[in-house]
């Protein structure tokens, strides 16, 4: 029921929002949370529990009411207790079978005796029946549903920076922010609630002065130019070096702070008694939030179970808003007389000290509270005596203690200690730059919290380099804010410790009996704290129970590791936009215009082939091959790594990093280059060209470009040779103009003498092509007369256009990666990474000729000296299928089988349009490597194809194509 207007309420009564829950229409106000709007409409039961499907409602109103999560359209697991109400929301409870009221699983609770902790480990596992049981479990499990139509939401994830980050805008956090800002720091203060203030806004004990103090403090913070106050924003975790993700509704901000003040407060903890989960049983702070934030009367007649002054204050808040407080039940026999307690007594409210609630009596269908049965507080672990009294009420409010919201402190590496006087874990040793204040620091009295905040804020500013830390003494608490054992045994159980997981007191006793008697094992066996609230309301009680069962102190039992996140974070916020950097050569638009079919090549996209109308992929590729063999082709090779090494020791450098020799390479000539790692494995290849005595230009593979440059830079940092390496990969555009007509066409565009004497095979020349300064190399990767032409990137497109125009009469065809693969296969050239693997050495792949073991040193040489002496395990060879082979051809990585054993595998294979047959490369046993040897290749269907080992290259074995007469 909605209360009359309350000063400071969050709801806007002028704005009414219609929504539906479980098919029924409701109205709430702007500023409501889903739960507050539903309770304002006396909805009662808001959800069902995970395991037994028991009726549940509000527990905390603090973002851990897991039993009241809703499905909102495509959004699963919407936290009703804190999610702002929006007009038109159509909500349903999650994990019901047939709706909340008629949930077919609602009788599961009756079988609770069959389902003690870990029951599922003890049965259901027969090999035959497990799949059936698993299907049943999978039907019952999970909360909300995903909607496959949900789009990929790309959010504007961002970074931010501040001097001091204060987490929590309650009284201590606000004080900390002010103190830090006063010392000159730029401060950001975040709070997960829609408005700042924390308990200062609702735990009032009906004292107007408290509200006024809070308003004053908040106004000072809001007015301070150096403070940014971010409400509706939670700190989701703490990561190394003060790196805190802040989550608001739509965006994740990664905040880097110089100092962090954790003023995150404490979670109020439930008392454990029979039926403590009925709708109508809630934490005192939840009731107070309902009243002061949402003007919702949580009940009409309340029994208030307390163990501290906060509880008495809650009783006063209830009484002040028209709720009849039937009794305050204080667990403590002799509470220290505090102000709030006096005020309660002065009001004539009945106070039962030394009493506990034994059980809550259910109303109709177990969906409400009809009364509370109280008795004298028994010794821990014992049953209450038979002297009982039933107090008729429709709500039970619990205020028996707190657990510090120390998740971020744990994640930061804080050592915590159990402070017996407070019955609470408090920070013992904080990491550098991390500060704590307020309830999380064990300071509960309002005035002390403000003082503690001032202390922490000042110290945090000083740590960030602003001012000096003020020496402030915070007085000790005069009573323990938490009760050491707010737990009452009951023969019928249903005294819940973990509301997410429906764990009862007995479950813990059983788990410990089975040997799960340390906190981590207990957690894993019982699943306590593993639900979506991550133990916020259950870990502390679980720890108390375990400590008692094993006869230890809470300090000795210790806590489980608190891991991110503080509250769960939607993947869309974590993923952000999803940056996928992609490199484009300067010729990208030309390829697109020519109908390129793109394929990924690391960070690049490369044309796989160019589409031709009415031709399939293979025909396109084969006709590109034929064009190169018979006329002229052009391919963009701008993705190759393009490096230079310059300086007196440039040649020495290359000698050390490649397995061949370069010291004697003539200026104006090029040479193939293979690189190994220290274990002798082939890792990259390319071409080295000598531009001048002290100047080399060399290429790497596309995938190796960035990593090879980086590693070479490291090596020269280590070797300190007198030379420098320049990465020109992106600075040059490069094409390979290849085919019998390449010289003729190039001749139209350059003044260079292209005769084979002036510009022989493997030579390099610098000149202009179509007026563009260019480096030209006569290479033969594809096996035809051809030129690799490298020009500054900004002139790449002009070069391409000029070559295409000049080549038109010769029938020039652009060709893609697939045609190039086929062309080089015909020529018997290997591709690193395809014809080699993570263990291939140069000897395995027929590069013995390139491996110059008589050089003093190169990377990998010493390992190759060992490998050289070992028997060969495999050998890469060429092979052909029969000329008239018509069946299903092998594919790459089909196995070579000899005597029923794996002898090797195919690394490359294709039908060669030039040779008119299938050709390929394969690893075989050295004994099979002789040309003419028949090898058996097994296909995926198990059949085998015979092939015969062939000499390489398949095409133009005498390299006549590179000679003038060709």
């Amino acid at each position: 029921m909605r209360l009359p207007p309350i000063s400071g309420e969050w709801i806007d009564r002028a704005t009414t929002l219609s929504f539906s829950f479980e098919g029924k229409s409701y109205e709430g106000h702007a500023g409501d949370s889903i739960s507050s709007a539903l309770l304002a409409a006396d909805a009662g039961m808001l959800g069902r529990s995970f395991k037994y499907h028991r009726p549940r409602s509000v527990l905390s109103m603090a973002n851990h009411d897991v039993n009241t999560v809703c499905q909102w359209g495509e959004r699963p697991n919407v936290r009703a207790d804190v999610t702002p109400l929006q007009a038109g929301m159509a909500l349903t409870a999650v994990n019901t079978f047939g709706g909340l009221a008629a949930d077919k699983a609602r009788h599961l609770g009756k079988f609770a005796r069959f389902m003690p902790v870990g029951f599922y480990y003890k049965s259901f596992y027969s090999k035959k029946l497990f799949p059936m049981w698993e299907r049943m479990f999978r039907t019952l499990t999970g909360l909300g549903k995903v909607d496959f139509a949900t789009p990929h939401l790309r959010t504007a994830k961002r970074y931010d920076f501040c001097d001091v980050l204060v987490i929590g805008a309650g009284p201590s956090g606000l004080s900390a922010a002010l103190a830090a800002a006063e010392q000159g720091a730029e401060v950001v203060i975040v709070d997960e609630n829609a408005r700042a203030g924390g308990s200062a806004g609702y735990a009032l004990g009906a004292e107007a002065a408290r509200a006024a103090q809070h308003a004053e403090q908040l106004a000072a913070v809001e007015a301070h130019p150096a403070i940014r106050l971010l409400t509706g924003t939670y700190a989701a975790g703490y990561y190394t070096d003060h790196w805190i993700p802040l989550v608001d509704g739509d965006v994740l901000t990664k905040m880097r702070a110089r100092s962090v003040v954790v003023a995150s407060g404490a979670y109020e903890q439930p008392a454990v008694f029979h039926n403590n989960d009925l709708p109508g049983v809630m934490l005192a702070s939840a009731a107070q939030r309902l009243i002061y934030r949402y003007a919702v009367r949580p009940m009409q007649k309340a029994v208030v179970l307390v163990a501290n002054q906060d509880g008495y204050r809650a009783a006063l808040d209830l009484a002040a808003h028209g709720i009849e407080v039937v009794a305050v039940v204080d667990l403590r026999p002799e509470p220290a007389a505090g102000e709030a307690e006096q005020a309660v007594k002065a009001k004539g409210i009945r106070v039962l000290t030394g009493h506990c609630i034994v059980e809550a009596l259910p109303g109709s269908h177990g969906q409400s509270v009809a009364g509370a049965v109280v008795a004298k507080t028994p010794q821990p672990g014992e049953m209450p005596g038979s002297e009982r009294e039933t107090l008729v009420c429709d709500g039970i409010v619990m205020s028996v203690g707190w657990a510090p919201a120390a998740n971020l402190l744990y994640q930061a590496g804080t050592r915590m200690r159990y402070e017996k006087a407070l019955e609470q874990f408090v920070p013992d040793t904080l990491p550098a730059g991390v500060f704590a204040c307020g309830r999380v620091n064990g300071v509960h009295t309002l005035a002390s919290r403000r003082l503690d905040g001032q202390r922490a804020g000042s110290a945090a500013a000083a740590n960030a380099g602003f001012g000096a830390a003020q020496a402030i003494a915070v007085p000790a608490e005069t009573e323990s804010p938490s009760h050491p054992w707010p737990i009452v045994s009951h023969p019928k159980g249903k005294n819940f410790v973990d509301f997410d997981e429906d764990l009862q007191l007995q479950d813990f006793q059983n788990a410990v009996q089975e040997g799960f008697d340390n906190i981590e094992l207990l957690k894993r066996f019982s699943t306590v704290g593993m639900g979506p609230s991550q133990g916020k309301h259950s870990n502390m009680n679980a720890l108390r129970i375990l400590a008692r069962l094993v006869g230890k102190e809470p300090q000795q039992v210790g806590t489980t590791t608190a891991r991110p996140f503080f509250h769960p974070v939607p993947m869309a916020l974590l993923g952000g936009r999803g940056f996928n950097p992609e490199r484009q050569t300067p010729l990208q638009s030309r390829h697109d215009a020519l109908g390129a079919q793109w394929m990924p090549a690391g960070v690049w996209q490369r044309p796989e082939y160019y589409r031709v109308a009415n031709q399939d992929r293979l025909s396109c590729i084969r006709s590109e091959v034929t064009a190169v063999r018979q006329g002229l082709g052009i391919i963009d090779v701008g993705t190759l790594g393009k490096l230079e090494v310059i300086g007196p020791q440039a040649a020495e450098f290359l000698e050390r990093v490649y397995i061949s020799k370069y010291a004697g390479l003539k200026v104006g000539m090029t040479r193939y280059a293979v690189m190994c790692d220290e274990s002798g494995v082939v890792i990259d290849d390319g071409v080295v060209a000598r531009l001048a005595e002290d100047h080399f230009y060399f290429t790497t593979t596309t995938s190796g470009a960035a990593t090879i440059y980086r590693e070479l830079s490291r090596l020269n940092t280590l070797w300190q040779l007198d030379c420098g390496i320049v990465n020109h990969t992106g600075a040059f555009a490069a094409v390979n103009l290849a085919g019998p007509k390449s010289r003729e066409v190039l001749g139209k565009l350059t003044k260079l003498d292209l005769s084979s004497t002036a510009f022989p095979y493997l030579a390099l020349r610098e000149g202009t092509v179509a007026g563009i300064p260019a480096r030209l190399m006569r290479v033969g990767f594809v096996g035809e007369w051809g030129y690799e032409i490298h020009v500054p990137a900004n002139q790449g497109a002009a070069l391409w256009d000029a070559l295409m125009a000049a080549g038109q009469p010769a029938g020039i065809r652009p060709f893609g990666v697939e045609a190039q693969r086929l062309l080089r296969l015909e020529k018997g050239h290997i591709i690193i990474g395809q014809d080699t693997d993570g263990l291939s050495n140069p000897y395995d792949v027929g590069l013995d000729w390139a491996t110059k073991m008589d050089k003093p040193f190169f990377v990998g040489k010493r390992s190759l000296q060992v490998i050289e002496r070992q028997p060969r395990k495999q050998q890469l060879v060429g092979f052909v299928l029969g000329e008239r082979f018509t069946g299903q051809a092998p594919q790459e990585c089909h196995l070579v089988i000899e005597n029923g054993e794996i002898a090797g595998r195919v690394t490359s294979i294709a039908w060669s349009p030039t040779l008119g047959r299938h050709i390929g490369l394969a690893f075989v046993r050295p004994s099979q490597a002789a040309p003419g040897t028949s090898i058996a290749i097994r296909l995926s269907d198990g059949s085998t194809v015979q092939a015969s080992v062939a000499r390489l290259p398949f095409y133009d074995p005498d390299n006549l194509k590179q000679k003038e007469a060709a």
Binding site: T240, D241, W243, Y709, S713, T717, S863
Partner: protein, 85 residues
């Protein structure tokens, strides 16, 4: 995110860096035994401790040495190779 300090570019998020591994002195390949060489190539000091490591600030291609406690993931100091200590 972890902060790493490049001797040239200053403190930056660790995502701007490439980790190579612990610096391992190479034995003389001409004189060392096969076993000593294999030990250099393959074996690592995998135990936690304060190690000298190669790191590279990728945006500037700056290689440097980081002295790092690999258990606490704490960088004790960084310097250019050959410049210190």
């Amino acid at each position: 995110m972890k902060i790493m300090t490049c001797p040239i570019n200053g403190p930056r998020p660790v995502s701007e860096f490439f980790y190579w591994g612990e610096m391992r002195p190479m034995p003389d390949p001409d004189t060392c035994s096969d076993d000593a060489w294999a030990d250099y190539v393959f074996n690592r000091n995998g135990a936690p401790g304060v190690k000298k490591e190669w790191w590279c600030h990728t945006a500037s291609n700056t290689w440097f040495v980081a002295v790092r406690d690999t258990e606490k993931d704490q960088v004790l100091r960084t310097y250019l190779y050959g410049e210190q200590p």
